[in-house]
Symmetry: C2
Subunit: 338 residues, 2 copies
C-alpha cells in the first residue's frame, strides 16, 4: 500500500486498487492481432492499443488515479502539471471531470493537437521554451503562488500504479486466453508506464521479459540499465517522438526498471515514421511517433523477438498532428500487404 507516493514504490495490489479507481473513467483496451504483423515478425504478436484509450494515450490512467485521490480540502486550489502533451490530456480531462482548475506547463513546440486539446478540455496552458526554460521551475513557482497540487508525470507511485493497469489488463487477458507471452515491448520516457507494466507482469506472468523502447539519443533507460546508474540524455538531442523526451529515467520508476527490465532498444526518426506508416497501412491504427516506438523496435529487431516467442507490443499514444501523420504515411515503405 502506498503511504508516501513520492517515496514508495507501487506494489501489485496498488495496481489492482488503481483499476478499481479507474472504473467508469478509462476503458479496458483490447488485445489486437494482425496477420500482416505476425507474418512480418515470424511470431505471434499481440497489440495493446492505448491509442484507443480516453484522451488518446495511457496517461489518463495515472492522472486519474492520482488526481481523484487529492483530498477535498486541497481541490479548490487546483492542480498543475508539466507535460509534453499526453500527460497534459490526462490531467486536463481528469480535472474537467472533477471540476478542478488545471494549469499545464507545455513546451512551445509541442504538437498543436496536444496544446489545443488541453485547452479544449478547459486547462490553462503555460507555454515554455524547451531549451532555455525549466518546466520544473515554472511549475514550482505556480505551486508556491497558488497552493495547487503538482501532478508529476512519472515520479509518483499513484501515477505509476495507474499506468500499471495497462499491464494488469494485458496480462489478465493474455492469461485468460492461454497466451504465454515471452516478451513485452513498451515505450518509455520517464518510465512510469513500463515500471507499472513490469510490476503487473511480475505478479501475473513472471516469466515474461519486459523490454524498453526509446527514441535514439533518448535511450537513457537502456543506457542507465547497462551501467547500473541513472544516466541522462545529452541535452539538445532531438527526436520526433515528442512524448518520449524526458531527460532521464524517473527515480522511482528506475528502481523497478533495475529489478525487472530485460533490456532495451532505440529507434531512429526514420524507423518511427516507418512504424507509423506500417500502423496506418496494415494495423489501421493512428499512432504518434512516440507511441510507435515499440512497434519500430519490434519491426527492426524481429529476429530477436521471434526467437523468444509470442510478443506483446504496447502502442502508448495516438495524438499526432495531421501534417506529420501525412508525412509518415506518404513515405511509401516497402510494400508488404498481408
Amino acid at each position: 500500500m502506498i503511504h508516501n507516493p513520492l517515496r514508495d514504490l507501487p506494489a501489485f495490489d496498488d495496481i489492482e486498487d488503481a483499476a478499481q479507481q479507474l472504473r467508469g473513467i478509462t476503458f479496458h483496451t483490447p488485445l489486437l492481432r494482425n496477420a500482416a504483423l505476425d507474418e512480418r515478425i515470424g511470431a505471434p504478436v499481440w497489440i495493446k492499443p492505448e491509442t484507443l484509450q480516453r484522451t488518446g494515450s495511457f496517461k489518463m490512467r495515472g492522472a486519474w488515479n492520482r488526481i481523484s485521490r487529492i483530498p477535498e480540502a486541497d481541490r479548490r486550489r487546483g492542480i498543475v502539471a508539466f507535460s509534453s502533451g499526453n500527460h497534459a490530456q490526462g490531467v486536463a480531462e481528469s480535472a474537467r471531470i472533477l471540476g478542478l482548475h488545471a494549469t499545464i506547463v507545455m513546451p512551445a513546440d509541442a504538437p498543436k493537437a496536444k496544446i489545443d486539446a488541453a485547452r479544449g478540455r478547459g486547462a490553462q496552458v503555460r507555454l515554455y521554451d524547451r531549451l532555455n526554460e525549466s518546466r520544473e521551475h515554472i511549475a514550482a513557482e505556480i505551486v508556491e503562488k497558488t497552493g495547487a497540487t503538482l501532478i508529476r508525470p512519472f515520479d509518483d507511485a499513484w501515477i505509476m500504479a495507474g499506468q500499471g493497469t495497462v499491464g494488469l489488463e494485458a496480462a489478465t487477458d493474455a492469461n485468460a486466453a492461454g497466451i504465454a507471452l515471452s516478451s513485452v515491448i513498451c515505450n518509455a520516457s520517464g518510465g512510469g508506464l513500463i515500471a507499472g507494466v513490469a510490476v503487473a507482469f511480475e505478479a501475473l506472468s513472471p516469466a515474461t521479459q519486459i523490454w524498453v523502447a526509446e527514441p535514439a539519443g533518448h535511450d537513457d533507460i537502456r543506457r542507465s540499465l547497462a551501467s547500473g546508474r541513472i544516466i541522462a540524455n545529452e541535452p539538445g538531442c532531438r527526436s520526433i517522438a515528442d512524448a518520449l523526451l524526458a531527460p532521464e529515467p524517473g527515480m522511482l520508476p528506475f528502481q523497478v526498471h533495475q529489478r525487472r527490465l530485460a533490456g532495451g532498444f532505440a529507434a531512429t526518426d526514420d524507423q518511427l515514421l516507418d512504424a507509423m506508416s506500417f500502423a496506418f497501412h496494415h494495423l489501421k491504427l493512428v499512432v504518434e511517433p512516440g507511441g510507435a516506438c515499440s512497434l519500430a523496435v519490434l519491426l527492426n529487431n524481429a529476429g530477436h523477438f521471434a526467437a523468444r516467442g509470442p510478443v506483446l507490443v504496447v502502442l502508448s499514444g495516438g495524438n499526432v498532428d495531421a501534417d506529420l501523420f501525412s508525412k509518415a504515411i506518404g513515405r511509401q515503405p516497402a510494400v508488404r500487404v498481408k
Copy 2:
C-alpha cells in the same frame, strides 16, 4: 441450413456455423468506446471496428465462409470474383491460405492500396472500366473459360452468413456487458453485411433497430425500402465511398432488408471526409470513405439516434490510400477535443 446458397436466405444457425468456420482465420473484433463521440452524440456509442479485421475489412468473413466450402474437386479450377476492393482482399487472402488460384476483376479507378494488396496476396487482377464494361460479363467469361467458381460479393447465403458474424459478435458482446442497444448503424453496398447483421440481431437482440448508411446518390437500399421494391442508383453517379457503389440492393439481402431494417440515411462526400477526420482525431482509427459512412450518418443525425438510446456503429473498412486520407485529415474540422 443453407442448401442452395444462390437461393436460400441464411438463418441464425448458419451464422453460428459460419463463426465456427472462421475460427483461427478472422478475429473477434472488440466493441470500443470513445468519450468524445459519446459527448458529441449525447448518447452512449459503441464502435465495432471491422477496420481492424484481417485484410482491413469485414469482407474476409464472408469470403472465407464461402471459399473454404468449395468442394475439393472444384478447387484446382480456381476462383473468380469482381470487387471494388475489399471483397477482393477477402477473396485473395482466403485463396492464398487455401492455395487456390484467384482472379479478381477490379475497376481501374479502385484505390491503389486495394489493387496492390490483392496482387500482393497473389491474386491475378483484371482491371476494367467501371463506366463502359460490365464486371459481371468479364467474370462470367472467365468462369466459362476456366471452370473457376464465382465468388459473389453479396448474393450468396454463405457470404451473407459470414458477414453476419459481425452481428453475432457484437450482439453477444453487448448482451454479455448488459448493453441494450437501441440502434445499429451499418454501411451497405449490395447489403450482404447489414442483412447478416440483421439476422444475428433478430435472434440475439430483437428490439434493436437496424439502420442502413449509404453514400448520397447511392442510397438504393434506403429508397428501395421506402418504395417496397428494388430501385437501382442512377448510373454514373459518383461518390468517394469506393466500397459502396453497387448498382442496386442484392436480391437475397434485400429480402432480409425488407423484413428487418428500420430505415436509412445517406452521407455526402463532405460528410464522409469529416467522419474520416473525426475518426483520425478522436477515435485514432484509420477508416476508408465507405467504412466511415455509418459514422457520418451518426454524426449528422445525432438527435435521431440519441433520442432512441445506445447506438452501435459498424466501421466496415479501413483500406484507403495515403493521399486521400491526408486530404481528409487536413480539412480542419470544427475543433472538438474531448
